[in-house]
């Protein structure tokens, strides 16, 4: 679309595949990450961690470490007892929240639990000395499996709660008992969603700098939520929030794992005060495995009631959530998102959900890309396939039958949500066309006759994005933006959303460039420094553009009004239009460019009536609802009948994320999401043994997909704008992950269906499939 103003054609940038403006510094290695921060006289911290999943600390000998070369301090849990506990921001009735000291006091609860910290002149000296700290433990029985933890007689993770129940949650919607009583068929299945390691390429890291005279703490940390870290670390350390400055330089991936407040962030802030010098701690990869939150960790028991024609009448779900040893920031909230999402995009109005959170002697689970929604989507999409198999109905057909219809929006779900907009059949039909579904089924039948194991898996997912309205989130669900038009007409956007790889330095500039009729090169997006950017919430839950971008949009509307006012003064006319970067007098056709108007707004020789100088607007936008993207992923897989190895032959993804600001970035998000979805479906698993030792605790054992392991992704879209925000956008950061795993698993189960296979738990390792094939043959 183009608008012609004063003879200049301004092409719309929203919708264009602009290359990411942040990439040159990233791909040339000139970006600054936490580990690139070097301060005068900076010291290094190394943390001594528990090798036991459960043990009493009998004594800690620190003398040898204290005398080690270069060491300036060694601290243990006794020293840091007054530091506030690591916070849990989520609340549920009856939630049991164990006090989470930054360094263990008396007892350790998981392998990797920080016990002591050594501070030395360099990181080598720090690690050498850390190796000299002698901790005498009395090992205690541990429990690492959530179902075993809930069984009678299990070792108590926290002695004060011997049943290991961290929380329970119940939700009823509609009349589920009636639905099940009236059902022709009920299918049941236990479905697990294994523990995963989020595996950001950049591990966590903190640099803390204390200015004693001002009682000012500067904290550089790799986080998705700098302002929330500021508030919570200030509380933990008893500092004034406005004297804690959190700086988040480049973040090398978060995926939810940096949507948190960690012990080390407060600990480094505390150490910097104690030693009166800056201190740096960079998490090792091993520590990242052990001590950064894990994702998923569900055991789900599903029951689906249906009529013989395939109409779903009701869903019962019992979730056993592996909590780990503590609650991190949002731990108990994550499975409640699964409950919200449990009906998927199907119209059934009868649900019953029960969650039991189980303490285990493991690292806490928390938000990992999708956070509760991949688990729920995996569950419902598997159950719909199981139902289709039971009733011998085609999996595409049974989905079409149960979709919320286009005329039912906004649609109130049994879980209390209001789906904003949708056209669920559109991506399904498009994906079916892309794979030529009818022909594909014929090819599958032919291949089976030749003894080949070909499977077709469909996943029609929905998800909850733009998290979220404040009443639904623990810390406020709005987002903020300040847009400043400088005297030269250049535009600076300060976003509270703190994007960290999602591309908003580009997409926000596209929005601003279109609204103001300028070039993206005239727009700078600033984020990640609490002393520069107004309070914000952060980037997670696919909210950056839908909420943060909308805040930018409204700030721009304010400025456009003000630009018109200043332009009108310059043009000496009451009848002006602002368009294409110029204020134009509708009578004379004379115009003033944005730089001219901006200069006059700051020069302030003549102010419009009731107008202050300057061109700055700050908006905090509270969304009235979540947004609900959706789509269809279809996977064609082939199984090696001799080895059980799964090969993905085709991957078709049709995603509907509402209006599209930058399709190139959307493709990237979809690809990355699918990589993590396939990772869960086929390879990744955080495996703890019965003693709570993490067996897959190195990259040599934890299989993160590499580029060459990925299939070609055929990515398409449909567009159903969201009515929730004026941009009509929904969010796409997690869609790939959410849509993916059931498509992969459904395809493999479909391939093996001649053997009577109905379900296989992830990851679909070749050995697991080989066992199924061996039994079948």
């Amino acid at each position: 679309m183009a608008t012609t103003i004063a003879g200049v054609e301004k092409e719309k940038l929203v919708g264009k595949r602009l290359r990411r403006r942040e990439d040159p510094r990233l791909i040339t290695g000139t970006a600054t990450y936490v580990d690139d921060i070097h301060l005068e006289d900076m010291q290094y911290a190394a943390i001594v961690r528990s090798p036991h999943a459960a043990a009493r600390i009998l004594s800690i000998e620190i003398a040898a470490a204290q005398n080690s070369p270069g060491v300036i301090a060694v601290f243990t849990g006794k020293d840091t007892e007054k530091v506030g506990g690591v916070p849990c921001g989520a609340s549920l009735p009856g939630l049991r929240v164990p006090h989470h000291n930054v360094l263990a006091v008396g007892r350790v609860y998981f392998v990797g639990h920080p016990v002591a910290v050594v501070v030395a002149k360099d990181r080598y000296m720090a690690q050498d000395a850390a190796d000299l700290v002698e901790v005498n433990y009395e090992p205690l029985p541990a429990v690492a499996d959530p179902e075993k933890a809930l069984a009678p007689g299990a070792a108590p993770v926290h002695p004060e709660w011997p049943d290991n129940v961290a929380f329970t949650f119940h939700q009823d919607g509609g009349d589920v008992d009636k639905a099940f009583a009236e059902a022709d068929v009920v299918v049941k299945q236990r479905i697990t969603s294994q523990r995963l390691i989020p595996m950001a390429m950049e591990t966590r890291g903190v640099v803390a700098e204390w200015h004693g005279a001002d009682r000012q703490l500067n904290l550089y940390t790799s986080t998705q939520i700098p302002h929330l870290v500021r508030t919570l670390v200030a509380t933990m350390l008893g500092l004034d929030e406005n004297r804690v400055r959190v700086i988040t330089p480049e973040v090398g991936g978060g995926f939810g794992s940096k949507l948190n407040v960690y012990a080390e962030e407060a600990l480094m802030g505390w150490i910097a005060q104690k030693i009166q010098k800056p201190v740096k701690w960079i998490e090792t990869r091993r520590e990242n495995f052990l001590c950064t939150i894990h994702g998923r960790g569900h055991v789900d028991y599903y029951e689906l009631a249906a009529k013989r024609d395939g109409t779903i009448l009701g869903i019962k779900l019992k979730i056993i959530q592996d909590v780990g040893a503590y609650h991190q920031l949002l731990t108990p909230a994550i499975p409640t998102l699964s409950v919200l999402m449990m009906p998927g995009i199907y119209k059934t109005q009868n649900i019953r959900a029960d969650i039991v959170g189980a303490f285990t002697n493991c690292m806490p689970t928390d938000a990992y890309r999708g956070a509760g929604r991949p688990e729920a989507t995996h569950g419902i999409e598997r159950m719909v396939d199981i139902l289709a198999d039971e009733l011998q109905i085609d999996p595409a057909e049974i989905r079409l039958k149960n979709f919320v219809a286009n005329d039912q929006f906004p649609f109130h779900t049994a879980t209390g949500l209001m789906y904003d907009s949708g056209n669920y059949a559109a991506p399904l039909k498009k994906a079916l066309d892309l794979v030529d579904y009818g022909k594909l089924r014929q090819e599958q039948a032919d291949a089976r006759k030749q003894g080949k194991w070909i499977g077709i898996g469909i996943s029609t997912y929905g998800e909850i994005c733009a998290i979220g309205p404040s009443p639904a989130t623990p810390a406020g669900g709005w987002e903020s933006a300040t847009v400043k038009i400088e005297p030269s007409g250049k535009v600076t956007i300060m976003t509270g959303a703190c994007p960290h790889g999602q591309g908003e330095e580009t997409t926000f500039a596209q929005i601003a460039a279109d609204e103001l009729g300028i070039s993206v090169d005239d727009v700078l997006v600033v984020r990640g420094d609490t002393s520069i950017v107004q309070y914000g919430i952060g980037t997670f839950g696919s909210r950056g553009t839908a909420i943060g971008g909308t805040a930018v949009y409204f700030a721009l509307q304010d400025l456009k009004e003000k630009i018109k006012k200043f332009g009108a003064v310059l043009l000496e006319s009451d009848d002006v239009t602002f368009s294409g970067g110029n204020v134009v007098c509708n009578k004379t056709g004379q115009s003033k460019s944005l730089p001219e108007v901006a200069a006059s707004a700051y020069r302030a020789m003549k102010l419009p009536p009731n107008t202050e100088p300057g061109l700055v607007s700050t908006r905090f936008w509270e969304p009235p609802n979540f947004t609900f993207p959706f789509g269809t992923h279809i996977v064609v897989s082939e199984i090696d009948g001799q080895t059980g190895e799964v090969k993905i032959r085709r991957y078709v993804a049709v995603d509907d994320c509402g209006n599209r600001i930058n399709p190139l970035i959307i493709d990237g998000q979809v690809h990355g999401g699918i990589a993590q979805g396939i990772g869960q479906a086929l390879w990744e698993q955080a495996v703890y043994d019965d003693n709570g030792q993490l067996l897959s605790g190195e990259l040599t054992d934890y299989a993160v997909p590499r580029a060459h392991m990925m299939p070609w992704i055929e990515s398409e879209h449909t567009t159903t704008p969201s009515p929730v925000n004026p941009l009509g956008v929904k969010g796409v950061g997690e869609a790939g992950t959410i849509g993916c795993s059931p498509a992969v698993v459904n395809s493999v189960v479909d391939a093996l269906s001649p053997l009577g296979v109905r379900h296989i738990d992830m990851p679909l390792t070749p050995e697991k499939i080989w066992h199924i094939l061996s039994k079948g043959a």
């Binding site: 190796d131 990869r285 091993r286 080895t643 086929l682 990259l699 040599t700 390792t765």
Partner: protein, 284 residues
């Protein structure tokens, strides 16, 4: 992920290297295994002697019916060197399966075999090739066969102060068909199982066959009963199956997160059959 303190030397002559080794230094070749172990503090050598600058250890030379490969030759060089591609394609094909491009650019054949990871790729090929390894120390040089060299997991016949100087593989007779088949461990890229096969045919029969196996147990080996079963047959599908069924016979197979012992044995048989079939198809 920082190592303990160590001394470091990088002389440019083999003689100086051997002197330092004799004095107790640990040799560093490509560093693909040693450096990560040092960073995890699982290894803490007090002195490292880096072989990177010893040019006399980096070569591929044909001599008579053998090809001599210097220990510091990288996997990438083995993978792409024309003489090897032509006359010992099994080794080149094996090298191409190691790790990723970065690893193949840094890692060396001498370092890999000396480390003797039971899941490494080369040992399967070296067993099948009946390769010889020239070992050198300050006092003496000796030559051992691949079969003698690999003793156990991470254990070889190398004595303290000794390094692998050279690997000697045969220049294949015309008409030899070879194949390396690998099941990749998805996290590490090492072999869950690797099978290297060489065959020759004569008058419609399999006249020569060698099968080397890696990954299955604590050290690589030649599957001699499989070889004996295949030799003299026409190499028909049933012959291949019968032979392949024997590759794991009597082997105490490893078991880990990625594959149980039984599954490993099964994979060894399946991939032996595939490797033999391909090798036969390549033999003329």
């Amino acid at each position: 992920m920082v190592p303990q303190k160590f001394e470091y030397a990088a002389p440019d002559s083999l003689k100086s290297v051997l002197q330092l080794l004799d004095a107790g230094a640990k040799p560093l070749a490509g560093g693909m295994s040693l450096i990560p172990m040092m960073k995890l503090r699982l290894a803490a050598p007090e002195q490292l002697v880096d072989l990177q600058k010893v040019k006399e250890l980096s070569y591929i030379r044909e001599s008579g019916n053998a090809i001599h490969i210097g220990a510091m030759t990288t996997h990438y060089e083995v993978e792409t060197f024309p003489v090897l591609l032509r006359k010992c394609p099994l080794l080149a094909e094996t090298a191409a399966e190691i790790g990723d491009l970065q690893v193949r650019n840094r890692g060396t054949i001498g370092g890999s075999v000396a480390h003797a990871d039971p899941s490494a790729d080369y040992p399967a090929a070296l067993q099948a090739l009946e390769a010889k390894l020239v070992l050198i120390g300050a006092q003496k040089e000796r030559t051992v066969s691949a079969a003698e060299f690999f003793v156990d997991a991470f254990t070889t016949v190398l004595e303290p102060g000794e390094i692998v100087r050279e690997v000697i593989v045969p220049a294949e007779e015309l008409g030899t068909g070879t194949r390396y088949e690998k099941v990749v461990q998805p996290a590490s890229g090492f072999a869950i199982v690797g099978v290297a096969v060489r065959v020759r045919r004569s008058a419609g029969k399999i006249s020569f066959v060698r099968v080397g196996i890696t990954g299955l147990s604590n050290h690589s080996y030649r599957a001699t009963s499989a070889e004996a079963t295949l030799a003299g047959t026409t190499g028909a599908a049933a012959d291949v199956q019968n032979a392949a069924a024997l590759v794991a016979e009597g082997i105490d197979a490893n078991s880990d997160l990625h594959a149980s012992a039984n599954y490993r044995k099964h994979l060894a048989s399946v991939h032996a059959a595939r490797a033999i079939t391909t090798a036969i198809s390549r033999a003329s």
